[in-house]
Symmetry: none
């Protein structure tokens, strides 16, 4: 069984966007044990798309299309495949209802061209779109399977995971169980992590160990195959134990969790509330925590004290601290953490002050960051880190360090 | 003249990396006026690469290959093309010298397989690699041109710009100038925008008009060709004027600007400061503005008032408002905007309160958002929008609506 991924969209050929869909799907298919031999990108052009389908049919068993399912005239993936396969398009009532609902909800009138999104190829299994309007579909004809997915990654990815992947597995009667587990690390670089477990990586066969660095974190994806799901999980447990015995202190969670999720989970478990005083991070810490649904019971609020004026007037940082130590200092971080905790009556106060750049500040180099944590037992911890990167990179990593240190401190309470 | 971009590398088919090279080259070729009709990705496999070459030869005049020029056994792009074109590989002495130099410089012995990197297809123009070892090349046979570029973007990109692009222009005797301009819109959907200008899109030839929706915004890329750069710009001006006469009220800026950039620019021009009170957006507004370097002179700070307790204690929202109207109300948005403006002594105060979900709140449906703007002239404007989407989607769009309304209000000051 082998697959070809065909992305449809002139914006890809103009270089306006990158084909991240092909990467996502390739990874997913690799985990299912399906070989991908080609990716193709073709524009919103019926003749060229038709020719791409003809070529792909000869060299792949499963053709996965992304993009071109929308309401406009440019969107013609469905129409072209339907004509190529000589199967008509039929209205999917469920999809139509969900599109109509969407328009009711946003209080706009549905323009007529939106009905077109609910058309599906006759005889196909419809893949619901929970994050947008156009449904996906899977149809099999003459021993070849065609899966159509929407272009926007935030619609395509959840659709593939929830509906596309199971549909393929059912069709292939995949029996061998494949189990995956992602271990997440923060505070260690990719090359250091790889060095620390290089013998494990080198000898990997089952489970496999795939390191990946992104967003200032490193993850290890462990994948095991076995006749039973339990057997595969046991294999994962064994290699995980081995890995964590070496680099466990940088490990913070599994799979899709985030540092924010873990902090919220831990604060909720211990019934602790938190508030923040943010200078260089400008609200990013607060925004990251409140992105998690359920944050409202533990996040009381925050003060973005971007100027020294606000640090003094709202957060009572002393004149002396600002004039003697400056705003980028251990002392300022300490006062901010203590005062935001008391001002917002929370159990924990955290503060961020530093230099995001592009210019140095108060003689401190770009990347200097002080993080203060005022704890329920009235202890205050100050962390000082020096971070490299862009302005936004420094802000993002500062927040991650704050979350990382919070986890350590709360664990020890 | 049309081109096909062929990326060679199994790591792409396994989803380990994204094909950013195709995006980069597509943009570059679009600017040269060369149409790209297909991207292909193929693995490190001689048979399948050969077949991809045969297909591309039939549908493109210029074939650009990236990847597979390195020293290992997996690297076989050059070898496959040379066999496909029946042209032998010859040692390029200059390239060999530069590889030997490289090894001397890093004080390591050059392994024998590295010599292979200096082999080029006979008769080709060699494109020097200033950031790595493997040279690129351009060779023309039977009216088709083949350009081979290295895979790593930090080698490929400068090589293409410095040597690849001029080589193509020389070959094509390109004289015509191409100018592009992106118009950015917020507050109008893609399908509505397309409907409003459908006759312009349908009749487009020069300039072309390409719509694209992303991040809750819509952009139109206008591209014009003309003998002179000024002539091309004039063509762009004309179609822009036509477009803006219809949908100008949703237009906010050009090219890579953002709503944040425009707000900061306008506030700076008018010497106005701003502060924010954020409930459902949890700091995202403040974080978005302070992401822009230079925000510190106009952003005073903000209060994240995630709980009603903070709305009352820090922002003095009245007990009565919260008990009678609730926190998700016009009145609460009004008090938050007025009070944050005075509490943080800024010229403008903006507030966000609403329901990000997943559950409804105070009987208000998910997606209900109130935005308050307290202006320097003591007027207060309240906007109410109902947004669809995920929790984070609602928060992001709420912030964009806030920025959009701010622009309108400041413009009218």
């Amino acid at each position: 069984m082998n697959a070809e991924i065909i992305a449809v969209g002139t914006e890809l050929l103009l270089g306006q966007i990158t084909n991240t869909n092909a990467q996502f799907l390739s990874k997913q298919l690799a985990e299912l044990g399906i070989n991908v031999y080609y990716h193709t990108v073709v524009g919103d052009n019926q003749t060229r798309l038709k020719s791409a389908i003809e070529i792909a049919k000869k060299r792949a068993d499963l053709l996965i299309f992304t993009g071109g399912l929308g309401p406009t005239k440019d969107d013609l993936t469905k129409e072209t495949i339907s004509s190529s396969l000589k199967r008509s398009l039929v209205m999917d009532e469920e999809a139509l209802l969900s599109i109509e609902d969407y328009y009711k909800k946003i209080n706009r009138e549905m323009s007529e061209n939106n009905r077109k999104q609910a058309l599906v190829i006759e005889g196909s299994e419809v893949l619901p779109n929970k994050h947008g309007m156009a449904p996906g579909m899977l149809v099999s004809i003459h021993g070849k399977s065609y899966m159509l997915l929407p272009g926007p990654p935030k619609e395509m990815q959840p659709m593939f995971i929830e509906f596309g992947c199971p549909a393929i597995m059912k069709q292939l009667k995949i029996q061998e169980r494949i189990e995956s587990r992602v271990l997440r690390f923060f505070g260690i670089g990719e090359s250091q992590l790889e060095t620390d477990i290089s013998d494990l990586i080198d000898s990997q066969t089952n489970p496999t160990i795939a390191p990946l660095a992104s967003d200032y974190e490193v993850t290890l994806r462990l994948t095991a195959k076995h006749g039973t799901s339990e057997g595969a999980k046991k294999l994962l447990d064994m290699v995980e134990k081995d890995i964590l015995s070496r680099v466990g202190r940088f490990f913070y969670g599994y799979n899709d969790t985030t540092l924010c999720d873990e902090v919220i989970k831990m604060l909720t478990d211990k019934s602790l509330t938190i508030s923040s005083a943010e200078s260089l991070t400008g609200g990013l810490f607060s925004e990251s925590l409140t992105r998690v649904s359920g944050a409202s019971s533990i996040v009381k609020g925050g003060i973005v004290c971007y100027t020294n004026e606000i640090k003094q007037s709202v957060l009572q940082v002393s004149e002396m601290t600002l004039s003697e130590n400056g705003s980028v200092s251990e002392r300022c971080a300490r006062e901010l953490a203590i005062n935001v905790k008391s001002c917002l009556s929370s159990n924990i106060g955290i503060s961020f002050t530093g230099v995001a750049g592009p210019e140095e500040l108060e003689g401190k180099p770009v990347g200097t960051v002080y993080i203060g944590i005022a704890l329920p037992n009235d202890k205050v911890k100050i962390y000082n880190v020096l971070l490299a990167g862009s302005r936004q990179g420094i802000r993002e990593r500062a927040v991650k360090y704050g979350l990382h240190y919070l986890l350590e401190e709360i664990k020890n309470l």
